[in-house]
């Protein structure tokens, strides 16, 4: 599906992306310099710098901090507005394509009776209007929006995270693979490429995402099976998969749901199987300013469970589910990008083996 916008509407979106680039490349370095100057002058101890209340009191009134946060929020709102404005021009045509009846390998199973969890129903993740399930073209909106949100640093294919995950997966023969919270699923293509003989499945709560995922998979020759399910309570039998993975899913759900998902993943794993969860780095692995700025997303970027996720003990959750767990790191091309206010970082991947 051609997701390019008409020239005028792309120009509107380009402007918004340009503002995000400006925030990251001009405003954030100034804020960091101000922070470092203050640290040099005051020499505050590490525990103070890790105290978000203290940091908020210190930087909350700061004009540069307010500017960075205010523009970040407004650019995110404007981004979705312009993406939707751009794609709505072709909405009927896109909907028709998404309703295609494919004969290609793979499948799509929707469940219109699947209840949406309370934490999902009315949240707008990353401020995407209508969330992932209330707009028929939420999938294309997500893909164009995320590319802009990340200033195109995931690459044209948008699959940088999948490449990172592949690089740390254990070298063992995975025959059946499940991607939980797959969304449009393109991030998993590197995993499909690395495991061409495996049977690949993707589940998600949102029917519009799955319809787009199926369309995109067919277009890209990816024989993936998609099913509308809740990862907390899947329809698959015990021991069905050799590899279960997710990327940036667990920070979007409450800690109780994280526990449920880990338990459910452990249930559907066969003995010897692997659960892999790729996430952004934990606060304590980042410098204090980056951690403080990331934490801001909890209240201001549609990430209500972001802080709770970073404060929970995921390794313990894995162990409680009967998995032997360890945390490893994966290279992030995005994390090394110039102007990224988090500086260089590596993805955190929690790997669990089912005995």
């Amino acid at each position: 599906m051609d997701l390019r916008l008409s020239r005028e509407r792309q120009a509107r979106l380009d402007l918004v992306e340009g503002l995000k680039v400006y925030i990251a490349g001009q405003i954030m370095p100034s804020l960091r310099q101000e922070f470092e100057n203050w640290c040099d002058a005051e020499n505050p101890n590490e525990s103070k710098l890790r105290d978000s209340k203290f940091m908020q009191e210190k930087f909350g009134p700061d004009p540069l901090y307010q500017t960075s946060r205010g523009l970040q929020r407004l650019s995110q709102e404007a981004m979705w507005r312009e993406v939707i404005f751009g794609l709505d021009e072709r909405k009927t045509e896109i909907e028709k394509q998404l309703d295609s009846d494919y004969q290609d390998p793979g499948s799509l199973t929707l469940n219109s009776n699947l209840p949406m969890p309370d934490y999902y129903e009315n949240n707008e993740f990353h401020l995407q209007p209508g969330n992932f399930h209330k707009n028929t073209i939420a999938g294309p909106i997500y893909e164009v929006g995320v590319a802009t949100y990340t200033m195109h640093r995931y690459g044209k294919a948008g699959d940088e995270m999948g490449r990172a995950l592949v690089s740390v997966l254990p070298d063992q023969p995975f025959k059946r693979v499940l991607y939980m919270g797959c969304g449009p699923a393109y991030k998993s293509y590197p995993i499909m490429n690395a495991l061409p003989d495996a049977e690949h499945w993707g589940i998600d709560l949102a029917a519009p995402m799955l319809k787009y995922a199926r369309h995109r998979a067919v277009e890209n020759g990816k024989p993936m099976h998609f099913s509308q399910m809740n990862a907390e309570d899947m329809d698959f039998p015990d021991g069905h998969f050799d590899l279960v993975f997710c990327m940036l899913l667990l920070h979007e759900v409450p800690t109780k749901a994280v526990t449920n998902i880990v338990n459910e993943a452990a249930r559907v794993l066969a003995p010897g199987g692997v659960l892999a969860n790729l996430e952004l780095p934990s606060y304590d692995s980042l410098d204090p300013l980056s951690a403080f700025l990331m934490d801001w997303d909890t209240e201001h970027n549609g990430e209500p469970y972001w802080r709770d996720y970073h404060e929970m003990d995921l390794i313990q959750a894995y162990q409680d589910a009967g998995l032997k767990a360890k945390m490893t790191e994966a290279h992030s091309e995005w994390g090394g990008a110039k102007g990224n206010y988090m500086g260089k970082f590596r993805y955190h991947v929690t790997i669990g083996h089912k005995p």
Partner: protein, 88 residues
């Protein structure tokens, strides 16, 4: 009508809302500017193929010229935000 600098007519107005207006305005101007440039290009070549205005395009990220134009425009419009002064 004289200007009364001591009166802030917008004192109680959300600065975030004002910034929403600024951003919306910048978006409109940028889109018009971009369109204008393209029209000028077309006219300069004495062609009248205006269908180009509606053609789908890649993001400016993938077009060196448009990317440079965009970043220069954003830097000029938002220059005041790089070192903002306290209100009041």
């Amino acid at each position: 009508m004289s200007v009364s600098p001591e009166i802030d007519y917008f004192e109680a107005v959300s600065k975030s809302d004002m910034m929403r207006v600024v951003l919306a305005l910048a978006t409109e101007i940028y889109a018009m500017r971009d369109r204008q440039k393209l029209l000028e290009d077309i006219l300069a070549k004495n062609g009248a193929d205006l269908s180009r205005l509606d053609e789908p395009v890649e993001a400016a990220t993938y077009d060196e010229y448009r990317l440079a134009e965009r970043d220069e425009f954003v830097a000029r419009v938002f220059a005041a935000m790089a070192s903002p002064t306290p209100s009041g």
